[in-house]
Symmetry: C2
Subunit: 499 residues, 2 copies
């Protein structure tokens, strides 16, 4: 029997759920394969995604309440996350109907500089069943109901999720939502599956018909799965969203003009969701001098008075304490720690300070939990050099004033080279789910160009197939001559839908 734990009390109880057996994993994969033909139709996928959005919304209360007892995340945050998961399903339904993502292309037979060229037509087809491993900190948006699931279904790939050990009941309930919605509209039962237990997760990525793995979580867990993938005959893609310190830079001008406002925003950003967001600003570059000191003083005072926060599980709580110790041992000064305590798996909001010139890998370890490292700098050169030295991230944030363009010009190259999203005069936490979003960054932030947020997430689960000189009747409908409801590239020219 698998155990579920309330992190607010550290109290564990039987979940009523048990490890999925190897035979059951095989059966789930077989069902997933059987579901593929039905998912090959674009409108079926769009309709299913709409149904998933509606079903998620309909059961939002129950979902959020269940997650609250397993994650300790606040109800407002969880309500918002369920809404985000539902919105995400809707956005992918839109993207499927818009249809650009299948990249339909037609090159008619033609005389070319290299001689007569055959008729070649191409589109993207689903890769196959996808295994999804969600993260502890996002029980909805990056778990069973999350972006990997939505984008895989949009691509036409059945999904088998691994229930997260830190939110087993939430995972099981989420799966029920998926399955009921699929059943209600007559979508194949094998479109969704779920496995419980670590061994079942490994069995899943080893299953020969699994065609890709979507993962959000720690580098350590990623390495376990990657090792299992290495044992396969065929090297399937592993799309991982892994680790990020998200540097934030406050210019001298911004510190002078709106230091207090930035301090409050930064405090909210690094302590929100108990600091357990992959986009949490982990390092803030603050200028030396009085304006910078005022920001530090303000954050210190907010931190000391903050309540202790509930962390997701025992491992994160232990790790929070360990990393804090390692950073101090590496020379960081602890300038603030919340005094309040509480029961359960807690972490006290903590602020450390270092000199930007000292900042390197050791002082830039990602810490899940309400901890911020403030790096005091004397010059923008110091910031630039430090940004090149620290691990690469999902995001970089910069607060500047309109008359400080030279600073942006100086830092633009390092910011875009070392992260996937550059935020101006705001905070990296809070990721808008939209077409242009990019949630990913150079290693170790992610190990792939595209991740589970934003419409291009769908691209990870598709593969191109070309038809050469195929008779009209043998072509998929979207590749036939004539009108089309989706954009296509015809003889090299991007062509708008014609119906």
């Amino acid at each position: 029997m698998l155990v579920t734990t309330d992190p607010r009390t550290a109290f564990s109880k039987d979940s009523g759920l048990i490890d999925t057996t190897p035979d059951e994993v095989r059966l789930l994969v077989d069902h997933a394969i059987a579901a593929m033909p039905a998912l090959s139709d674009l409108e079926t996928r769009a309709h299913l995604l709409d149904a998933l959005a509606a079903a998620t919304t309909a059961r939002r209360e129950e979902l959020a309440a269940t997650a609250e007892g397993e994650t300790g995340l606040g109800r407002a945050r969880l309500d918002g996350e369920v809404a985000r998961a539902a919105f995400q399903f809707s956005l992918f339904a839109q993207a499927v109907r818009e249809g650009s993502f299948i990249e339909a292309m037609i090159d008619h037979a033609a005389d070319t500089p290299l001689g007569p060229g055959p008729d070649v037509r191409r589109m993207l087809l689903p890769l196959g069943p996808v295994a999804v491993f969600g993260s502890s900190n996002f029980p909805f948006a990056f778990s069973v109901l999350g972006g990997d699931t939505a984008s895989a279904i949009a691509a036409g790939c059945p999904v088998i999720a691994k229930a997260h050990g830190s939110h087993l009941l939430t995972s099981a309930l989420s799966f029920e939502v998926l399955q009921d919605a699929a059943r209600a509209i007559g979508a194949p039962a094998g479109a969704f599956g779920i496995v419980f237990g670590r061994r079942a997760g490994i069995d899943l990525v080893r299953a020969s018909a699994i065609s890709a793995v979507g993962f959000t979580g720690s580098l350590g867990a990623a390495n376990v799965l990657r090792a299992a993938i290495e044992e396969r005959d065929d090297p399937i893609p592993f799309f991982g969203e892994l680790s990020s310190i998200n540097p934030l830079v406050i210019s001298a001008g911004a510190a002078r003009v709106r230091g207090e406002q930035i301090a409050q925003g930064l405090f909210t950003s690094f302590t929100g969701s108990a600091g357990q967001l992959c986009t949490k600003p982990g390092i803030a570059f603050v200028p030396t001098g009085v304006d910078g000191q005022a920001i530090v003083d303000s954050i210190v005072s907010l931190t000391i008075d903050a309540p202790a926060q509930v962390l997701l599980n025992d491992r994160i709580s232990t790790s929070f304490t360990q990393i804090s110790g390692r950073l101090r041992a590496s020379g960081a000064d602890e300038v603030a720690r919340a005094t309040a305590t509480s029961e359960g798996f807690t972490g006290a909001p903590t602020v450390l300070e270092v000199a930007a010139s000292e900042l390197g890998f050791e002082l830039a370890e990602e810490c899940f939990g309400p901890m911020l490292v403030i790096a005091r700098y004397e010059s923008v050169d110091q910031v630039e050099a430090a940004l090149w030295r620290v691990p690469k991230s999902l995001t970089t944030t910069i607060h500047i004033e309109e008359d400080e363009r030279a600073i942006v010009e100086k830092l633009q190259a390092v910011m875009t080279a070392t992260s996937g999203r550059v935020v101006f005069n705001g905070f990296p936490t809070g990721v808008r789910v939209t077409w242009a979003q990019q949630h990913g960054g150079p290693w170790p932030a992610t190990n792939s160009q595209h991740t589970s947020v934003g419409v291009t997430a769908v691209r990870r689960f598709l593969r191109p197939v070309a038809w050469q000189n195929a008779p009209h009747w043998a072509l998929p409908k979207v590749l036939r001559d004539g009108s089309s409801s989706i954009p296509r590239r015809i003889d090299g020219v991007l062509t708008a839908p014609s119906v």
Copy 2:
């Protein structure tokens, strides 16, 4: 001193080229990084690609002649390949000017169902310097002047090529063409580099600034490079085009109506370029019965009378003999072998026959060289089952008559699931370089969704970056409001160029 060998005589001589030292590799990588800012401009890239096309064409005689002495491939074939390489540079220049591939997207700030959403803008940026490893069988189209180089430059990535050991002088001359063209138009010298020798190739993929590897070649060589990549701190992508048996199916109707024509085409296809094409049909499904037997007889007779063919190098020649032996030992009947002999690294065109029902991995080993395995089948069910059993491929080919739609309907699923291009009533050799082309397939054909042929090859070397709430002046020009010379997605709507 590195040695170059004429495969027509097996005569080796000093190439005058020497192993690149580790220090030289480091220097090349440094120069590549320094070239990146200049390559960030789209028009610079297009202009450079045009210059490469022109320079390749201008020196076509010298290039083909040099390759002839190192590969034994015929002059007509090599002339065509140089033209193809030049055309490929031009096609990528067009794609850069068209601009869709950078995926410019703008989502203006808006009230969303999840609350106020920030302004988010996104485009694809170059990944960084790319290492290119070409193949022995395509000294131009898949080597220093090939699709990996063209697509990496189109993406804005400097290229460092590894000179192929089987065509060192051709590689060196190709590099000279690249470098002279770059110099003539004032492109940075670091846009191109080349290394010689195996150790230098390993040093190259280990270099921390190398951001991706493009590879065409054998599984064995791929594994050596992948092992070197595994030792890196960051797991960079390895895009490999590796192995393919390219099944070809001849229906009963096609055998009856145009058996002789198909036999001649098939003979030309499996012996062209001495059977050393990644798209060579390695297995032909021929019906039992008289129509099928007539096809076999025709191929046998063409094969027996064929001249011995020159293979690219000693390794391929040895391997050709070994694989032929293994296939016979596994139960294949040798039904034809050319009687002619010649000096150098040769392979005698050979035809083996098996029953389709017996066909599995052992009888479906890829063989570089003029060898064809004919699989005789009694029913389409046997063909379908065999296609699922054999290794996956770049292509599947089917010859059918108009009244045999049921056969296509039956085989369509397996053909698209197990290969990246389905060819109707033709032959898989000869790959049109065009927008809709897909040269790739499920493992072991390739290990990635996109490879070096076709415009989407560029996508491998790009990464998305998003700007959030960036002031107008801090955005790349293509992401600013106002007119645009390239297609963009604005607030979710694909929008045509406006200038």
